[in-house]
């Protein structure tokens, strides 16, 4: 499972395919993350938790 921002979906999908993991679950969060205040990053993390759990369970 990999977490990426929505601006980098194309690279993430291409790279997972190139590395032989085309079905690698991706958790997509809003762009940008760089330069955001810490409280925004924490909120982004909390908001993506359900996606992360789902991706891990699906992978299992």
């Amino acid at each position: 499972m990999t977490i990426c921002t929505d601006a980098f979906i194309a690279l993430a999908k291409e790279e997972s395919k190139n590395l032989g993991m085309p079905d690698l679950p991706l958790v997509i969060i809003n762009h940008p993350l760089g330069g955001e205040p810490l409280d925004v990053v924490h909120q982004r993390s909390a908001d993506s938790l359900d996606q992360v759990v789902r991706a891990l369970v699906e992978e299992a």
């Binding site: 980098f8 690279l11 190139n18």
Partner: protein
């Protein structure tokens, strides 16, 4: 016409009705840099391969982010498309190999949002043999060898490595340097030993060095006469916090291209290349408190002797003077250039292997 394939080649065969059809098809498939290509016919590709003295199927390197094999054959295809002559192939193969050395971090260089390109620096007898430009306009247009070799590298990065803008190449703004970026040493105007010798190669060797270079930043000084004042101007051009080396300090090296007149003034002042490197290392610095304005600064990348809690410390842009590489190139005039790099990438030099037919 057949754009590719011969029985002993493994590339896919594509047949087109004419040259215009080939060019349009390559544009449509995003197999170009946006400019028309020379159709890679079997005859042209085989001529390229023959000039290497190597097997078409030989794997030269694995190119990220697609992690695809660059073979002599598919590098030759891209060299044809770029307008190269067959005799450029040994240089191009050495450069592809150098760019794929782990120290260069090509995955990051290709996929980053930063506007770095692969700068090729050629040194040695091959410069004149291939008619590479090393005088007026080294970074500009007008010279077939520089333009087509630099373009061939970019086409390999796109077509083999998958460095396609928007997917494998995530550069926010890109750079004109991504079209073609190949320069050569002006050895006859260099007051010090040739660049390749500083990298441990023999004077009789020819080499290519790759840098993850931003576009060149001009250093203009028409008035200073002394070595130290010229270098002080250069240091000022290098000491700002907007480039990646300012924050990545210990993780990479960079390049200063001295115009011959600046180089001669510096040497006439009694300074060796090592002296100039030391001066720039000492003077091209940023106040730590200023560097901390960069949200991406990382104290872990700084030399151990820097106190990260002292905002008045002056932070160098590389960790040792030798990481300020100095090349002499260009024509008459009082201009030099600073080439910052991706930051977490070291330049790599390879010998250009003579062809044994």
């Amino acid at each position: 016409m057949t754009a590719m394939l011969k029985e002993d080649l493994v590339s896919e065969a594509l047949t087109f009705k004419d040259t215009e059809d080939v060019i349009e098809a390559f544009h449509a498939r995003r197999w170009t840099d946006g400019l028309p290509i020379v159709p890679p016919t079997p005859e042209r590709v085989n001529a390229m391969i023959a000039a290497t003295g190597r097997s078409a199927r030989e794997v030269v390197a694995v190119v990220p982010p697609r992690w695809a094999e660059a073979t002599v054959e598919n590098v030759a295809v891209n060299a044809v498309m770029a307008g190269c002559k067959p005799e450029y192939m040994p240089l191009l193969l050495a450069a592809v190999e150098a760019a794929c050395d782990p120290a260069f971090s090509l995955y990051s260089v290709q996929a980053t949002t930063h506007p770095c390109a692969v700068l090729m620096v050629v040194s040695g007898p091959v410069v004149k043999e291939l008619d590479l430009n090393y005088r007026h306009g080294i970074f500009g247009p007008g010279f077939r060898a520089n333009a087509s070799i630099g373009r061939a590298m970019r086409l390999v990065l796109i077509n083999v490595g998958g460095g396609i803008p928007g997917s494998g190449d995530q550069s926010t703004q890109g750079s004109p340097a991504k079209f073609s970026y190949c320069i050569a040493e002006n050895e006859e105007a260099c007051p010090w030993e040739p660049y390749r010798v500083t990298k441990g190669f023999a004077a009789t060797d020819s080499t290519v060095t790759v840098f993850s270079g931003e576009g060149p930043h001009n250093i203009n000084d028409h008035l200073c006469q002394s070595a130290h004042t010229i270098l002080a101007v250069a240091a000022d051009a290098m000491a700002h916090i907007g480039h990646n080396n300012a924050g990545s300090v210990s993780k990479g090296d960079l390049l200063v291209v001295l115009g011959p007149e600046h180089a001669h003034s510096i040497a006439a002042g009694g300074l060796s290349r090592q002296d100039a490197q030391q001066f720039l290392f000492d003077k091209a610095r940023n106040r730590l408190g200023k560097v901390k304005l960069r949200a991406t600064y990382k104290a872990v990348n700084w030399p151990a002797w820097i106190n990260p809690d002292d905002d008045d410390e002056m932070l160098p842009i590389v960790s040792v003077p030798e990481h300020i590489n100095i090349l002499v190139s260009g024509g008459p005039g009082k201009h030099s250039a600073f080439i910052p790099t991706f930051g977490t990438s070291f330049s790599v030099t390879r010998k250009i292997q003579p062809v044994d037919y």
